[in-house]
């Protein structure tokens, strides 16, 4: 944790995004994915905001995350799809969490535990979770035998976003899976395949339910379209106060390794955020921040607890608020710019923020 550094999450932006996305996809169910602490936004507070906005369901990776939502008072249906070996699903039954199961062992365990319903997860090309095509008939047949006690509510897969053609192959494979499930006697009410990118651009991929992750937080899943162009508002702002200001003569080094040596006399401002707070060290000497609405570049190496900004000859003072990233519509640097500076993706910028940073939901 760092003095007065703060992650501010605008829950009204989360609600706005959820409503905007629902309107964009028409008459299908909307699931918002709140795994990884709601992509760094704070799982419970974000989930409650999405609940207020009328989303139908929430998705998480694992049961620990699902149980944490329940303990926080979240009542929406919750789906979890990444399970430990030997998972008993007793917690899922106890907390009314719907598991997505990928194999017979998980299906049997879910039935034994008495969960209310399951989704079946099939691999249509991503090669991660999900039963592969050769396993479908056995999985579907057993699910059909069990369905009196364990209803199969949904059938799901996940797109690789490799190319429109590859996504088309996956959609075709998913249609085969749905057909095989029906032949086996299953009637899954919710077929779902698409996440943010697929749901927004491929109407045909929306099926019965779409899963929104990044877009729900007001961040664009596309390289060529901004959040604002999608009608979304970034909800998260990362700020910290300037803790030190000093004048540095031309040619002197700054921070570890002296990567930055100013060519002329300049003023540097120290900001108490570093890689331990989740700021990617790879953004060193490249990323930009704003102070008082003006952009300044991070200079030198980002350290564990501090980074240095070159403010030139501007009158920046100790205590001034530094916005690392937030909503470009309010003049902030975008999380996508930090991702580009670090050679990564926007998802990482928010999801890797340290759990020790204080989060304020407003």
């Amino acid at each position: 944790m760092t003095q007065d550094a703060l992650v501010t999450v605008d829950t009204s932006a989360l609600e706005h995004n959820a409503r905007t996305l629902r309107a964009a996809v028409g008459d299908v169910e909307v699931m918002v994915v709140v795994k990884a602490d709601a992509y760094g936004h704070g799982a419970v507070a974000s989930a409650l905001a999405f609940e207020r906005a009328g989303v139908d369901r929430l998705g998480v990776a694992d049961l620990d995350e699902a149980v944490a939502l329940r303990r926080g008072g979240v009542t929406l249906p919750v789906l979890a799809w990444l399970h430990a070996p030997g998972e008993t699903f007793e917690r899922a039954a106890q907390h009314d969490v719907t598991p997505a199961v990928s194999d017979l062992a998980q299906l049997e365990a879910a039935a034994r535990a008495g969960v209310r319903a399951v989704h079946l997860c099939v691999d249509t090309g991503l090669s991660r979770n999900g039963a592969v095509e050769s396993e479908w008939s056995a999985l579907f047949a057993r699910a059909a035998e069990l369905q009196a006690e364990l209803p199969v509510e949904g059938l799901m897969s996940h797109l690789a976003n490799a190319s429109p053609a590859e996504d088309g192959h996956q959609a075709a494979a998913f249609a085969r899976a749905a057909g095989a499930a029906r032949e086996a006697g299953l009637q899954p009410r919710l077929l779902h395949l698409a996440a943010s990118a697929g749901a927004l651009v491929q109407e045909g991929a929306r099926l019965d339910l779409v899963r929104f992750g990044l877009a729900a937080y007001g961040l664009s899943p596309f390289a060529d379209r901004t959040a604002a162009q999608l009608g979304l508002r970034p909800a998260l702002t990362l700020t910290a106060p300037v803790t030190t200001v000093k004048r540095v003569p031309a040619g002197e080094g700054v921070s570890y390794g002296y990567v930055f040596r100013p060519e002329r006399d300049t003023t540097i401002a120290v900001v108490p955020l570093g890689y331990a707070d989740g700021i990617d060290r790879a953004a060193s000497d490249r990323a930009e921040v704003t102070i008082g609405g003006r952009r300044y570049r991070v200079r030198g190496r980002i350290a564990m607890n501090a980074l240095v900004v070159d403010v030139g000859d501007d009158p920046v003072a100790v205590g001034d608020e530094v916005v690392l990233f937030g909503d470009p519509a309010r003049g902030h640097v975008g999380a996508d710019e930090w991702a580009a500076a670090a050679g990564g993706i926007t998802y990482e910028v928010v999801a890797c923020l340290s759990p020790h940073l204080p989060r304020r939901h407003a």
């Binding site: 990884a36 430990a84 030997g86 030190t244 921070s255 570093g274 607890n305």
Partner: protein, 377 residues
């Protein structure tokens, strides 16, 4: 079958103590200050501090004040001194006085605020002066130094501050730059003494400088990464230093699948199987601290054998190509550790993902439970 953990970070407290004990012995007569910033490099502040005390450490550097106050309020490390020097604009100086935390002060404003808090409570401010010898972060610039020292001496004479120490940080840029920092430090201490200051402790060196240059140890060496068994000097391994990495990151295989030649894996299909092969799904991703740069040559260890990560690391998971090996669901996957079981060390992991081991340790995420072994405190 008992559920295997999805993900696990194991902290070897016996190795932590052994590292620190060895450092305490090697640095003597200089004292060792253990750096426990950032929740003890994310190992867990409240667990690590009592272990370090058991290993003979009597100084802790929390960098920021808040964790030092948290330790004091919990009664942890009570027999030790604590030092913080990265101070915010609205710092809790009264808390520092009340809980006997040394503050490294860089400016007159900070000095007055600290002394004012002591005066108000009738206590004593444990003061250290922080000099900038080139790093240009915290620290008093040489031009401002005489004024800071004069005021500190006045406040000492007034009885509201105890002048405990003087210190600086070196940038570890080059031998020349670091020698320059040493000269500046020595000169600034001499200047301060000429102005009437006397210091109980002088310190300049952190882990590597403390190991390599006996003449830079002065009275105390600030040991960060070495304590955790991750020496930062390029080309130097923990074993070279007689140290042992204390952190192991592991996970369980949650799925295996046989795939045909040409099968693409994970987002964007950045990797395709050349031959028929088996893929193992490992449930840790970048939200857990596994960098997206961990592909192309980064290997994990399963059943004592190395296997490459293939395709993109996702938020919660990645895939490993295990070839025709008999890997099963539930098998333990070692990402990095001390290296005893064929796994990469944290230093090797950092090298292959384009960063430093401290960043690897600090970015292990909140979904990864910590398991502590070998504790005595």
């Amino acid at each position: 079958m008992t559920p295997a953990p999805l993900r696990l970070a194991t902290v070897d407290l016996a190795a932590y103590r052994a590292n620190l004990t060895s450092l305490v012995e090697r640095m003597a007569p200089a004292q060792v200050l253990a750096i426990v910033k950032s929740e003890a490099y994310s190992h867990g502040l409240e667990v690590m501090v009592p272990e370090a005390v058991a290993a003979g450490v009597r100084w802790f550097g929390t960098v920021e004040l808040e964790p030092a106050l948290r330790l004091r309020r919990a009664g942890l490390g009570d027999e030790a001194s604590m030092l913080a020097w990265q101070l915010g604009p609205d710092e809790d100086y009264a808390g520092a006085v009340e809980h006997r935390v040394d503050l490294g002060v860089s400016t007159l404003d900070q000095l007055e605020a600290f002394a004012g808090a002591a005066r108000a409570s009738g206590g004593v401010a444990l003061l250290q002066l922080d000099l900038d010898t080139g790093l240009h972060r915290e620290g008093c610039l040489p031009g401002d130094w005489p004024a800071l020292v004069r005021r500190a001496v006045e406040l000492r004479d007034e009885g509201v501050v105890r002048l405990r120490g003087v210190f600086s940080h070196v940038s570890e840029t080059s031998p020349d730059d670091d020698r320059d920092a040493l000269d500046q430090f020595t000169a600034a201490v001499a200047r301060a003494e000429a102005l009437g200051a006397t210091f109980e402790l002088r310190h300049l060196s952190s882990s590597s400088a403390g190991m390599e240059h006996a003449e830079r140890r002065f009275d105390l060496v600030r040991m960060g990464s070495n304590g955790y068994g991750i020496p930062v000097t390029e080309g130097v391994t923990a074993a070279d230093r007689g140290l042992r990495p204390i952190l192991t990151l592991s996970a369980s295989v949650v799925r295996t699948k046989r795939v045909a030649p040409g099968t693409g894996v994970s987002y964007d299909y950045t990797w395709r199987a050349e031959h028929e092969t088996t893929l193992a799904l490992v449930p840790v991703g970048y939200a857990d601290g596994v960098s997206r740069r961990a592909q192309h040559g980064v290997e994990v260890t399963i059943r004592g054998r190395r296997h490459p990560i293939v395709g993109r690391v996702a938020m919660d998971q990645f895939l490993v190509d295990v070839g025709d090996e008999p890997v099963e669901v539930g098998d333990e996957v070692l990402l990095f550790g001390p290296g005893d079981r064929g796994e990469l060390t944290i230093g090797e992991w950092a090298d292959r993902t384009g960063t430093i081991p401290e960043e690897v340790a600090c970015r292990i995420g909140p979904r990864v439970p910590r398991r502590y072994v070998g504790g005595v405190a």
